[in-house]
């Protein structure tokens, strides 16, 4: 079937090819069996919300989550790390999951999607987070799915007074990887810091649609996206910071940098700033380009091959974001996966 995902909050000309992503031949799983190969550190879970999403990945995928999820979790944070690891294998090829996180106490939360099979897998998920007053959450999402897999993730956050949500998205897997990220920053002095790395190769498609609605006074949103494209990969980055009336003294920054390793790769970026409040500071910047020849020359002059030098540059670009992963074991696995993909 053909589906349309990741609609931008405001449309622009159809000729600009960015209003949404049309995908053909997407087969949604019909009868899902329970996803067994999942490791969860948190055992006390409840039924998550099925409240309609403001944006999300479109009606079809959203209804599929609310009606057919084969993994549904509601977690209340309690000053402990939470780790959820979905291992896709020959017996567990399809995952439709609904995760709700109620942030009451500070916590580090890790959610990983890993292919342990070469077969095509399918993932359609929702992660909904409510950060209560003064709560600090560090959430890390890692996509290490194989290159035959379609991956759809919808993320919705609600930030209350003085809460802080640090989101780190490591998007280095999948044939088609679509992320819809929406933050509703309601509370005064709430802070949402989103950092992403993406790595696209071959004929992969990356579609990132990040939307932050800033409502709280003195609240802040910071989006930093660092990406690398190789082969015939196509990437769309749509980032919107929407300063709503009343968010006085709010700040918003959005930055995307795309490193192009191939002349066949294609990068489209739409960094939007929408503003109906005077007393704000909003900035965005995007940039694209190939590896700096001087840097490359310097590294190669120290004895490294071209491939090794490029790998080093890519890793250094990603490093400041990977460093945010506090769990050393998970961090090391991410580094290894990047190393493997670039080799």
């Amino acid at each position: 079937m053909e589906i349309k995902v990741n609609e931008t909050p405001i449309r622009t000309s159809r000729n600009f090819l960015i209003n949404n992503l049309k995908l053909e031949n997407i087969e949604l799983p019909k009868k899902l069996k329970s996803f067994e190969n999942v490791e969860i550190s948190e055992l006390k879970t409840k039924k998550p919300s099925t409240k309609k999403l403001k944006y999300g990945n479109g009606k079809i995928l959203e209804e599929s989550i609310f009606e057919n999820a084969n993994s549904a979790l509601k977690i209340e944070t309690q000053n402990e790390d939470i780790k959820i690891k979905y291992n896709f294998d020959n017996e567990n090829l399809e995952l439709v999951n609904n995760i709700e996180i109620i942030g009451k106490e500070n916590a580090n939360i890790y959610i990983e999607y890993i292919s342990k099979t070469n077969k095509p897998c399918f993932h359609n998920g929702l992660i909904r987070t409510v950060a209560k007053e003064n709560c600090k959450l560090n959430i890390v999402i890692i996509n290490k799915l194989n290159n035959k897999t379609n991956n759809f993730e919808a993320i919705e956050n609600e930030l209350h007074e003085k809460s802080k949500v640090n989101y780190t998205i490591i998007d280095i897997g999948g044939k088609t990887s679509v992320t819809n990220y929406y933050s509703n920053i309601i509370g005064e002095e709430a802070n949402n810091d989103l950092k992403t790395i993406y790595l696209g190769q071959n004929n992969e498609i990356k579609d990132l649609n990040y939307i932050a609605e800033v409502r709280g006074k003195k609240s802040e949103i910071d989006i930093d996206v660092q990406g690398v494209l190789d082969g015939n990969c196509k990437k769309n980055f749509k980032g919107t910071i929407d300063f709503k009336k009343g968010c006085k003294k709010a700040k918003g920054n959005e930055n995307e940098f795309c490193l192009l390793l191939s002349d066949k790769a294609r990068s489209i970026a739409l960094p939007m700033l929408l503003c109906t409040e005077e007393e704000v500071e909003g900035n965005h910047s995007t940039a694209s380009g190939k590896v700096d020849s001087k840097t490359l020359f310097y590294i190669m002059s120290r004895g490294l091959s071209y491939k090794e030098a490029v790998k080093l540059i890519v890793k250094s670009k990603f490093n400041k974001i990977i460093e945010r992963i506090a769990n050393e074991e998970i961090k090391e696995e991410v580094l290894q996966e990047i190393e493997r993909k670039l080799s």
Binding site: I10, R11, T12, S13, R14, N15, F16, L17, I18, N19, F243, K245, C258, L260, L261, S262, D263, A265, R266, S267, I268, A269, L270, P271, M272, L273, L274, C275, T276, E277, E278, E279, V280, E281, G282, N283, H284, S285, T286, A287, S288, G289, K290
Partner: protein, 465 residues
């Protein structure tokens, strides 16, 4: 207390002449009306065919699904052709008194004497005055109205008319091609460099009507030109429509600077289309000031087809009460070593909405191309709106591309600093806003810079915070 920026005094622009005309076509849009316009204009068969095909395209195309609300625009209420009570004149003395007075007050004949190489003046649907310095004529420069060009240079027009901007580009281009009237045709021969600008001024006087002028400029190899266009209209209670079309051909090694000051009245739907095709080592620079109209959708476009082609866009948009100005710039890099530089500013106040909407596309064949975009928006109150919607589409790795945008209010720190140097708060704010607009105003032709300074001749009252 809030910063208050006054509107421009529109007395000059709001002079209404009596709605007198030789012929006004019935309101609406259908085949009969298009055929009647074609008959009135003595079109050759090929032009009539273009019009009728364009009407078919118009009927097939949908209204844009994005941008400002256009629901107030009802084509059934718009007269698409109004012929003024005069023919084309080459002397201001021959232009009827009331029309001449209007252009006098707008300062056109005076500017012609002082600083222009040629002038065209359009009133409603027809050009009423056209003149160019004799020396340019001797160098082979052609500057005339479009109707004369269709008659006297049919081969050149056929080769270029609606080729840079295809009829099916969007609905209002199709409308334009069906009912176009007036506008300017410029041909600058190879190697001819014009030191002083040509200017066309477009005035729409008739209520509930539309202006659909066509501007076609060909700057041949190694030639250079500065072309200025201005436009205004008095305010009526009902909607007027402007759907002009500008097609620019900048051949190899040529240079064109295209400056526009748009000051339509605030009942105008300004749905204009401008495109330039730029050859090898050639350059097009756009300087645009958008101040008037109720709704604007205007995105000049440079298509850099030749190696080393360059373009610069310098634009300012100023939206006040009841205005929704959706403007920006599009550039397509189609060849190696091409470069583009974009500098856009906008000011929103009194509930006005400014949108910067843009496209940068660097194609597969545009290796070693460079593009740098900067856009800044200033909000002067919290009832206004300012949006930035730029699309950057990069299809090759050998590029240097950067885009920066910022949005905000007048900085308290800057005001504080200037006040510490002895300026009053009002003067400090005025200086900051003028400084914000200065990179654009310095690029404008002198008389328009004055017009813009009038606009931003601020009467600032009170204080921030």
């Amino acid at each position: 207390m809030k910063t208050k920026v006054e509107d421009i005094n529109r007395n000059i622009y709001d002079i209404k002449n009596k709605d007198e005309y030789e012929f006004k076509i019935e309101k609406g849009l259908n085949k009969k009306i298009v055929e009647e316009i074609s008959k009135q204009k003595n079109d050759p068969d090929w032009m009539r065919e273009i019009r009728l095909k364009a009407l078919e395209t118009y009927n097939k195309l949908e209204l844009p699904t994005w941008g400002p609300d256009l629901s107030e625009l009802k084509m059934d209420n718009i007269a698409t052709y109004v012929k003024p009570k005069t023919e084309l004149n080459s002397s201001w003395e021959d232009v009827p008194e009331d029309i001449k007075n209007t252009f006098d007050k707008l300062g056109i004949p005076e500017a012609e004497k002082k600083s222009l190489a040629g002038v065209g003046a359009q009133y409603d649907s027809e050009v009423v005055y056209h003149s160019m310095k004799k020396e340019l004529l001797e160098q082979g420069v052609i500057y005339t109205d479009m109707e004369t060009a269709v008659r006297e240079y049919p081969e050149i027009v056929k080769e270029h008319f609606m080729k840079c901007v295809p009829v099916n580009d969007h609905k209002f281009v199709a409308l334009h091609a069906a009912v176009w009237s007036g506008g300017s045709f410029v041909y600058v021969p190879k190697g001819v460099k014009l030191d002083i600008p040509l200017q066309s001024y477009f005035r729409l006087n008739s209520p509930e009507s539309g202006q659909f002028e066509h501007t076609l400029i060909i700057v041949d190899e190694g030639a250079s030109l500065h072309f200025i266009e201005g436009c205004s209209a008095p305010k009526y209670n009902k909607v007027n429509l402007h759907a002009g079309c500008v097609e620019l051909y900048v051949k190899d090694n040529a240079y064109l600077r295209y400056s526009t000051i748009e000051n339509w009245s605030k009942n105008m739907m300004n749905l204009n289309t401008k495109k330039a095709i730029v050859g090898k080592n050639a350059q097009i620079d756009w300087v645009t000031g958008s101040f008037g109209s109720k709704v604007s959708m205007l995105y000049p476009m440079s298509i850099l087809n030749g190696e080393n082609a360059k373009t610069e866009y310098t634009g300012i948009t100023f939206a006040g009460k009841n205005q929704n100005l959706d403007t920006g710039f599009k550039v397509v890099h189609n060849a190696k070593n091409t470069s583009s530089l974009v500098n856009s500013k906008s000011i929103s106040k009194d509930g006005g909405a400014c949108t910067y909407r843009a496209l940068v596309r660097i194609g597969e064949n545009a290796q070693n191309s460079k593009c740098s975009v900067s856009c800044e928006s200033l909000m002067l109150d919290d009832i206004s709106r300012s949006d930035t919607i730029p699309v950057n589409d990069i299809r090759t790795d050998e590029v240097t591309f950067s885009h920066e945008a910022k949005i905000g209010k007048i900085s308290d720190k800057e005001i504080f600093y200037l006040m510490s140097r002895g300026l009053s708060e009002e003067d400090a704010k005025a200086m900051i806003v003028r400084g914000f607009a200065y990179p654009i105003s310095k690029e404008l032709p002198v008389e328009y810079a004055v017009e813009m300074n009038n606009l931003i001749n601020l009467e600032l009252e009170g204080s921030i915070g």
